[in-house]
Symmetry: C2
Subunit: 421 residues, 2 copies
Amino acid sequence: MDASLPRTRNECLAADHLDPLAHFRDAFDLPEAVIYLDGNSLGARPHAAMERATTVIGQEWGQGLIRSWNTAGWFGLPARLGNKLATLLGAGQDEVVITDTTSLNLFKSIAAGLRIQREAAPKRKVILTERDNFPTDIYIAEGIIDFLNQGYELRLIDEDLPLDAALDGDVSVIALSHVNYRTGAMYDMAAVTGLAHERGALIVWDLAHSAGAVPVQLNASDADFAVGCTYKYLNGGPGSPAFIWVSKRLQQKFRQPLSGWWGHARPFAMEDSYEPAGGIQRYLCGTQPMVSMAMIECGLDITLAADMGLLRAKSLQLTDLFISLVETRKGEHPLELVTPTDHDRRGSHVSYAHPQAYGIMQALIGRGVIGDYREPHVLRFGLTPLYLGYTDVYDAVDALFDILETREWDRPEFNSRLTVT
Amino acid sequence: MDASLPRTRNECLAADHLDPLAHFRDAFDLPEAVIYLDGNSLGARPHAAMERATTVIGQEWGQGLIRSWNTAGWFGLPARLGNKLATLLGAGQDEVVITDTTSLNLFKSIAAGLRIQREAAPKRKVILTERDNFPTDIYIAEGIIDFLNQGYELRLIDEDLPLDAALDGDVSVIALSHVNYRTGAMYDMAAVTGLAHERGALIVWDLAHSAGAVPVQLNASDADFAVGCTYKYLNGGPGSPAFIWVSKRLQQKFRQPLSGWWGHARPFAMEDSYEPAGGIQRYLCGTQPMVSMAMIECGLDITLAADMGLLRAKSLQLTDLFISLVETRKGEHPLELVTPTDHDRRGSHVSYAHPQAYGIMQALIGRGVIGDYREPHVLRFGLTPLYLGYTDVYDAVDALFDILETREWDRPEFNSRLTVT
């Protein structure tokens, strides 16, 4: 831990005063009396998103009508926003599009990887992922395997089968979350990608908890595919469309199976046979939800205006501070840190296990300290440097210990599972 | 043609005065000096959509934040809106969800159909569709065939291979548009479904140009699968999420391959293996764009408040009127009616072929008469009874003939293909 970390509330106030990112909080609408520690589930609302949406709805849809596909640039939006996002991912131009959902982009990526390997290494029949991965990554791989019905199988990395042992010569495609949704543990992207390639596998990185949260270097890591969402650290809005990146090495090698009209080489020619568009455009499929998509730009512009080096430094300080305050006060409370202490292995959230985690989180939410509960027994706190300060972290930890010490989590209203999010 | 059709502009004004649906126009925001004949590409904006969006963005996202997945009912929205839409499709409750795009729902439906047939009739290896279908229906089938790599093939109904001859014992799944996007021709859903079943095939109906436009009876037709979009006649907004319906006979028979977390039996239990949810919920995949989705309800509520019998009657009168006015005036102009004259075979748009169709449509748009150009040489006019009147049709035809008679379509600015939508 950094010796310069604030220890008291007054030191936190002083740290906020000196914080070069503090003014970005003014770009967001946040409720009074809420400390929002769930920006890694749904990011806060940029003020600008409302104006953008009313323009798209009122002028572009209402007045421009069908003409807005050209005049308001709707048709080019997945690529234009993808290019903006690229710089946050260590990616180049024409390598990213915003489209569909993370689950669907996982399907496209894994399917494309299998399609390449079918010719390059037909005996490789394993899709490798982690038991502790976000479940949709597993479920999508299962769907592909069931549908193909060609002897593919799923293999799950877990305590009994670590990555190095699991990544053998049978593996066709490996899909990993760069930052784990539950623990906050982060992989070394370059090292793991290098290992996958050395063993002859292609790799898909899920950046849901990375994009806008930690520095990502897709091209420098020589990665193959990446997907992620825009509604967490990128503050795109509830369910805003996801993104997909494909290395320029692989873009032209195949067609992905979700081959809808928007990914055609000539989408308006109405031809009776599919021909994939060049480059990343072939990862588009059907018509995208323009109001939800347009608002993504507001969140992107804020993140791009901040410096990723400063964001990462503050994120590490906030997570360090949270851990330091909890460890200092925890005494006999059965709080177990789940998140790695090593900076190089940590994303932008902190998780603690506690046997009463569910009730504790409900009690915190009842006090306006909004974090997230994750199975099993995990309290998850997303620390978003764009709109959280040091004092927020101090006050959140204070509320946590007040709940622990008063056993507020034991109240019946905090233990109904009907309200789980 | 109906002898009671208005013939003069004054008779059209009188017909508008008596129109029991005329007041629905007040529910929509439409630009001044525009006659909008492209509601079958992008429907007009309900006034209510703006208020709904600002509530979702300002209160639900901005203030409710992550809590709105429960408190604002976001998680239940695909099913709740699906149930509202069901009544317009002759479908029951728990048979429709709003989600993803039409292309993706086609993928799910065709894939599910093949999955059922793989066990029931493994030798059937043909996916049948029409050469003249909306291209994405063809492209999605091609993507499935290429990905499966198991000897499936595409067969296209066309002039040389009519439906009856094409639908032989090799056909596994047939995918047809109920109303053709270009010609406006409508199939007899019950008859074609019956034929498909008699020949041992499953059928997917694309209702993109039907939902909200013509009466649809999915259950009474004994159909298998249906998909469609909400941004045309249902006025859901640009790129608003699509829908999928699956017959209760088939819902539980298989898992569709786009098996993301939202289609899991217990989506928040974070289990490490996929188990499909019961019923239509298993057709959900990833997180949906809530702002674009919520606005769909505004368009749905308007259509539900109108009577589908009245809507269909007015639609047929408007299309009859358009055809009657053009046929009366066309003289030597090479305008060829593409749309069927038989009411039972016609959707809610009228198409005419003309060698100069592209320039003519640009000239019409230049005058504020917004229709659509479709390859090859087709002028397409969507006649939406909720917000168009008889006089609109009269004035649109008048503009068309003024352009034809002055050869306004020949101006260079109307012949640049760069602006094609």
